[in-house]
């Protein structure tokens, strides 16, 4: 099974969640991070003095899915998150060895369903 991690704009939070739920991805975790990629930060002014923020607030969406669902999940995420502007975000894929559902003790792909 694979871990798919997508670093997206915060306002993508709701649409992605809905899209993934619709595709029957049974589990999902979301966290708030600060990120920098090619997208630059922004400037604020506090009493006339410039304050630079190099980091932008982003959400990280994390789903562990069975190998069979990896490509379809990625496609879905791209489809929803794509705007073509800098800041659309990135997706990373890595290996997961095992998963356990605490309630039932199920392991492996069974724990994901």
């Amino acid at each position: 099974m694979k871990r798919i991690e997508a670093y997206l704009r915060p306002d993508m939070f709701e649409p992605i969640r809905d899209a993934l739920k619709a595709m029957d991805i049974n589990g999902l975790s979301i966290s708030q991070i600060m990120g920098c990629g090619q997208q630059m930060g922004w400037k604020e002014y506090v009493r006339g003095s410039e304050v630079e923020y190099n980091f932008l607030p982003k959400v990280k969406i994390e789903a562990i899915v069975p190998d069979s669902k990896v490509e379809s999940t990625i496609e879905k995420i791209i489809q929803v998150a794509y705007t073509g502007e800098v800041g659309d975000g990135k997706i990373f894929i890595s290996d997961v060895i095992d998963a356990i559902r605490i309630r039932t003790g199920e392991r492996g792909d069974a724990a994901l369903s």
Binding site: D11, W42, F55
Partner: protein
């Protein structure tokens, strides 16, 4: 030595300071209710009125509202608070400048109330222009008509502390502005929830505190009328809080702090117009009914008609104000003013079997609503003319108005670490 009554002055200065604090209170009441990315914008949309409203008032507002004896609007003789020679000190109690100060605080908060309906989408510069125009075409004339000797006052219409001038006018204007602007980007799909409920309650608490100044201060003196208004105000606010909690208990089983705060504000808004004219038991009824009426509008009618009154400026102040105006026509009674020659109540209310007052109160609602609708459309039109467009772009709605309009985030440390 001064010939003014120091007790009256003490009370009116205190009351004025208390009413001033209501505008920051409103900023927290509204600011707590929006998303975290729109906090700065929402707070500023109330807060800037302290600046704009004060300066406009001193320059022309007081004069347009309270000088002369026009039927619809005052004249410009007191421009720049230049009243040294012309002032008739007996006309406004306890003294003309004190009265001007007290009334200024009302002029500040009224347009701030409207901002709740357009929150999370209106551009700050447009709101600035809108508020300026709206003051001149709606607020000052209305204050003059109701309190400055204008035709509604001459008709015997009753508005003790601003049910019409403040709440109905801002509430109706809020509705018009919300419809004109259209809903927020995901309105209907996205679910909105407050980002900081303690701030909502903090705001409501400061509003309650200030409301004693608002209503009891409207007696213009530290007399029995002020005392009476104080207790009717408190009673109605308390009753509406309880009835809101009861509704939630019945509907969902779960009373909430946002609900409690909303009920508080509703009960206070509703009794504003009536507070110096109705008995305590009537204030109890007014408050008890305020919550179910407004709840119905906010949770049923608003959804039916699908306008996006973001923070229920119409639902609270419009509906509350209208119910208050009607209630004044129902329950007003002569004799709460210790000086009977100053008693504004010429006829008793409908429940005592007299109809004159009741009908005139209905009329006053219509007049106020009409003026608010026309004036708001005009002010929006001017704002659009001068600032290009009234709304931020859809992209900026997503990013949040705090970054888009102000380049400032409310709690940078919670995103941006420290």
């Amino acid at each position: 030595m001064s010939s003014i009554n120091t007790g009256d002055v003490a009370w009116m200065l205190t009351a004025s300071a208390m009413v001033l604090l209501m505008t920051p209170g409103l900023a927290f009441f509204y600011g707590g209710m929006v998303k975290r990315k729109n906090v700065i914008n929402t707070m500023m949309s109330s807060a800037f009125m302290i600046g704009l409203g004060s300066i406009l008032w001193v320059l022309i507002g007081f004069s347009l509202s309270f000088s002369g004896d026009g039927l619809f609007i005052g004249n410009l003789r007191w421009i720049g608070m230049n009243l040294t020679e012309t002032v008739d000190s007996a006309r406004y109690l306890p003294n003309t400048v004190t009265f001007a100060i007290f009334q200024m605080m009302f002029a500040i908060i009224t347009p701030a109330l409207i901002s709740g309906a357009v929150a999370e989408r209106m551009r700050f510069s447009s709101l600035f222009v809108f508020a300026t125009v709206w003051m001149i075409v709606v607020y000052y004339p209305l204050a003059h008509m109701v309190w400055g000797g204008g035709f509604l006052q001459q008709l015997g219409v009753l508005d003790f502390a601003g049910g019409l001038v403040v709440h109905v006018s801002s509430g109706i204007s809020a509705l018009v502005a919300a419809i004109w602007l259209g809903g927020r980007k995901n309105f209907g799909k996205a679910k909105y929830h407050p980002h900081n409920v303690p701030f909502v309650f903090l705001g409501a608490s400061l509003l309650w505190f200030g409301w004693f100044g608002f209503n009891a201060g409207s007696a213009g003196a530290a007399n029995e009328l002020a005392i009476h208004s104080f207790i009717t105000t408190n009673t109605s606010g308390a009753a509406a809080m309880l009835s809101w909690l009861l509704i939630e208990k019945i509907k969902t089983g779960r009373p909430t702090l946002v609900g409690l705060s909303t009920g508080m504000v509703l009960g206070l808004a509703t009794v504003t117009q009536a507070s110096g004219y109705v008995p305590i038991w009537a204030a109890l009824i007014i408050g008890l009914l305020a919550s179910p009426i407004a709840y119905f509008f906010i949770s049923v009618v608003k959804n039916r008609f699908n306008y996006d009154d973001s923070l229920d400026a119409f639902g609270c102040h419009g509906i509350g104000g209208i119910w208050g105006a009607i209630a004044t026509g129902l329950f007003a009674h002569k004799g709460f003013n210790p000086v009977s020659s100053l008693d504004a109540v010429r006829w008793n209310g409908l429940v005592y079997g007299e109809t004159t007052l009741f009908l005139r109160q209905l009329l006053s609602i219509v007049v106020t609503a009409g003026l608010a609708i026309v004036g708001t459309l005009f002010a929006l039109w001017i704002a659009q003319l001068l600032t290009g467009k009234l709304r931020v772009s859809a992209r900026d709605e997503d990013r949040g108005l705090d970054l888009a309009e102000h380049d400032e985030s409310a709690y940078p440390a919670y995103n941006g670490l420290d």
